[in-house]
Symmetry: D3
């Protein structure tokens, strides 16, 4: 048996989601520390699918609502060694470096505020992430005007110097 399914993830208002895989239940504590080291006042919840022994969804966080959401979504995914983070007061660019350096982290599948569909493979043994549909399909290729608007936007919000 090998079946593919999609699990839908709606990202709460003003939040971002990060989906990845790691290993070992220590991951939830290490991700917690990575996030509080990344940004002052970041609020977040983490869920991690332990995949041996009790096979529980392990969870941590400093915001109860996001912690509960992360635990429930991780359980809905039920993909061994996957983790999911919902966060606010920070953007993925602020935290991804620190998450990549958590010693258990394997892969980051998505970091987004878009609606997300997780493509999941299921066998008799268990489930695993195979990819994500992150937001919408491309509608075209940017032209000269779009390029100028993009550059102006990034310089206006202060990410790039004019």
């Amino acid at each position: 048996m090998l079946e593919f399914k999609t699990v839908k993830i709606e990202v709460p208002q003003d939040c971002n989601v990060i989906l990845g895989t790691a290993h070992f239940i220590k991951t939830v504590e290490d991700l917690y520390e990575a996030l509080v080291n990344a940004v002052p006042n970041v609020k977040f919840g983490i869920g991690f699918c332990e995949s041996s022994g009790p096979c529980l969804v392990r969870h941590e966080g400093n915001d109860e609502r996001l912690r509960q959401l992360a635990a429930e979504k991780a359980f809905e995914l039920s993909c061994g060694h996957s983790f999911i983070v919902f966060m606010k007061n920070a953007y993925p660019i602020n935290v991804l470096d620190k998450i990549k350096h958590v010693p258990e982290t394997c892969v980051i599948y998505a970091a987004t505020a878009n609606p997300l569909q997780v493509v999941v493979a299921e066998t008799e043994q268990g489930r695993g992430v195979v990819g994500v549909i992150d937001g919408s399909k491309s509608k075209g290729i940017e032209n000269e005007e779009d390029i100028l608007a993009r550059k102006e936007f990034l310089r206006k919000i202060g990410y790039k110097l004019a």
Copy 2:
């Protein structure tokens, strides 16, 4: 609906392709900087699939042909938050570290000069990369003679010390 398709990527002569995912339109400028910091005289084109708002393929580069190719291939992929880089005058080993450290980068799916098939998942919502077929299937396991030839080759081209 969940369908899987393949998108074929032919890598131009003397070029390499890097396929990954990131997030945020700033990615194209950050990848640009990562590449020019990596190797003097590297020539490249970058395409990135923005997956919210206008959903345009964002592109940058310092070689018009490779930039156009990257934009077109990214559009053919149309996988939200994926990026594709075509480059010459440099090898992936020269640039991967810097690309991994771009704050938006999530995953690198391939870095290769081989013909590449990208396995894409498609739903009503959009599309996403689930994996790649990178070159050909294995034909055997190297024997003692093959091992010696491999070691000699790596030492002859200067990557390893004899």
Copy 3:
């Protein structure tokens, strides 16, 4: 043609497996060095699927049994540019950082002691990893008691300070 299959990987007693992708036959030597730099007395075998030219499984290691196992499993996978490491006397958290920094490394799909099923895509051209089933499905969400037990466990084995 696009077919999906699973390849089963049984991890030997007291061992862990790491599955990822890289590029270039130099990968086997670089992974070898990454591992011996990571942990004194680590024992391991590495297999890597070269995907152009002779398309051989390249292998290295400092433990004959694990080297042979890695070569055979890599051949069974036959996914271009994938690598597999079997190791003992060390845990993935001890070596993942160094493996991620190997200049050829693209993605780490799994680092685990669980039974593993690798989901593989196959076309006329070749094969590629699309994901893994790492251990078992989640059985529930940890409750207050489970959380306490987890914290005590991590502090008892010395990974976290009380």
Copy 4:
């Protein structure tokens, strides 16, 4: 001639200072980007001592007062290729990773809110940082009670899990 001097740096209220060395005038733009990528709403000024050609103190920032302060202090230091960052709304732990990965960065000498004395070597040719006096001398070794207080403090402010 080889003389040693100290330059005093008073860190403004609610600010931190980071002192390091890099090379190339691009450093000021790269440090700017590193900082805005690290923390939303971080405010900062950067000064960098160009040490060839016009030998100007190059400066950037998104807070005029901190930018001016950084430029003036860098000029007072006049140590070739040194940089100084004054910042608020963020702590050094939030930004050091990104600063270390700026491609021009060589060494970080200090990241602190303490009064700082920079020990400077001067020759006929120019000046260079040789070290820093960061805050005050140690007054003793923590005892059991101090250790408990430290652990409680770190767990109360949310950096470590109890």
Copy 5:
């Protein structure tokens, strides 16, 4: 006042010492975690010179003798924000990456089993590391025979492939 002194550090049999600077008392806990993540069964002691408030030497470790030694040597150094690690069952190459990535780490001055003299600057305000004398002066330049012996040695102990 600006005076320079040397502090002598004798490294215990079968141990290595690492000397660096960081900031924030959390450093001792973060270094502890970095080390236990690096190598199974590593034994170590850490001392860190807090340089504001109580100005205590903070210490952690999983070996009482090395912990006491580290605390005493850190106190003898009394250089604000410096840390010292004595460790056994591991080599610096096994742990330096993880120590560099601790979010508080600034600079690593030495990682060695040699006798070490730390050059310290002292002012009325406090003390700071300015450099180290790590082992002995060079006695010559290796010739062809020495080069062969070096290469053979590194390949014999398994760090490089023949």
Copy 6:
């Protein structure tokens, strides 16, 4: 005895020098690999001051003149565990990341094409780097016109996007 001296380093035309410290004679081979992985056609010489046992200057490289120069300058420095790299066909920004990740690397003191004076501490035991005078003293703070010229220059040579 504690004396301070300066050692002058003239960087050959079209070359850059990198000065740092590491440990273990394996450093010369690891730096060699780091450099050949960084940039195609980079030419370089490396010298490293072994500081125990035979205390020889270890050297590697792929350019005889630069190798000899590096060996001689390292011997002139005779600072235990220091290394020096002379290179051409590449800039420090292209290689520093890879050098920082060499498992033996401790600190990078300079990466420059400027005339360099290395400040060295000497005791009866040996010698150590305490800092560098990298180029010339600052002559002023850039004004609005200088800032515009700097930005235009960086965009003209392709390091930043307009």
